[in-house]
Symmetry: C2
Amino acid sequence: MTDLSRFSINQMTVKQLSLPELADVCGQLGVSQVGLWREPVQAYGVEATAKLIREAGLTVTTLCRGGFFTAIDPEARAAALADNRRAIEEAATLGTDTLVLVSGGLPAGSKDLRAARERIADALAELGPYAEQHGVRLAIEPLHPMYASDRCVVSTLAQALDIAERFPAHQVGVAVDTYHIWWDDQAPAQIARAGASGRIHTFQLADWTTPLPEGVLNGRGQIGDGAIDMREWKGYVEAAGYTGPIEVELFNDELWARDGREVLAETAERFVEHMAD
Amino acid sequence: MTDLSRFSINQMTVKQLSLPELADVCGQLGVSQVGLWREPVQAYGVEATAKLIREAGLTVTTLCRGGFFTAIDPEARAAALADNRRAIEEAATLGTDTLVLVSGGLPAGSKDLRAARERIADALAELGPYAEQHGVRLAIEPLHPMYASDRCVVSTLAQALDIAERFPAHQVGVAVDTYHIWWDDQAPAQIARAGASGRIHTFQLADWTTPLPEGVLNGRGQIGDGAIDMREWKGYVEAAGYTGPIEVELFNDELWARDGREVLAETAERFVEHMAD
């Protein structure tokens, strides 16, 4: 293992590890950055997590996730906005400058993707300034089109940037995740577009493996196991000026069934193999 | 049921029906058009199918499917080209002018989508004139991006048209299938582009329902059951000048487990409900 300086392990990749275990294994392996998720952080306590992470000498690269902005019902919308304000506060407490957003799918009975995308922009108009006050940037993550109906109506980097560019870059940018965009021949140009306005707020890796599992949520492949040329995508974000952390975020039932320490060690090895210059 | 004049039932939607049963049920329901698949047609005999269909007064709107052009190995490429010539001949024998192409996924070990797309264009340069001699048009079908690695490296209408436009429109066009493109905010403009050069060779419907099943092949929803506004997409193809058949092509384990006559009747009803002006 040669260079893990840009490597960040997303907590979801090794969700079988508790937060203290995660901090411990990171120390053993020389991993200095982590991406965290709200649910396990809330369960452990936000302040307690911040203290644990700080004392372990770790940096939090992103917090996942805010979002779910597409409800039509006013009460549900107000609840989503309140929850996202809490997410922004949590990000600030954890010391990360980036909150990743999964924007939400179609409300029950609706078939109007365009209107749903507009409701995301409406929500960001309210949340962007609040995030800025807390030193947090919002990163719209386009999710693979297979999630368009039930999880995220923002399916491409172009769509994400069409929304993000309505706001200052220090308020709203995008998450570039190989798993979601690798098939898109327009994505390299969109990465350049995002970089030109300083909107690449995080770069995440997962590989594309098939067959996809039922529900298509937990089949993200270990780096190197699938169809994606990771080095090519690293080249695109670097050409666009991105020099930040590179986070590995895998949702994978097979990896979750294994020993978390072993999976983290393997992930770090794969990172070095596929990200080395 | 009011107007089935543009309705075509794709054989795969009711694959539990034999070809004589399909012809019989179509007669009972007033359905005059079918889309056929090569495997069941070959099993019944191509000439015998043509005779059956002719005597039942049915028209064949499309034959599915040619394609699988992405192999690198010269022997595999030659075999694919030979098989596609046979598919063109079968289409001509069945009296349809449209052969739908599923272009193929990444060859084992390859991560190069761009090169795979170029091999599709290479194959079409050989097959286009052969198709023209037989009065058959080739329709590149972009498949949903979730099939990009293992089934079809052509994921958007824009990509399909980038390839198709290298050839005369009477040789190569595209298949517009709601299931594959409904998430894509660029698709309406691409439908207009396809229409402007006379390249909409077929228009197919399937609805988007979740959760997706394992392998994501056999979860295409009955018209009206999912997230897609069918009338909106009909509007796009009609604004682009398309006045041809509208084929319903569902791959769905639940529909296949039911009585085929009942499924065909239901599909015709849904068609009328969602396609009526």
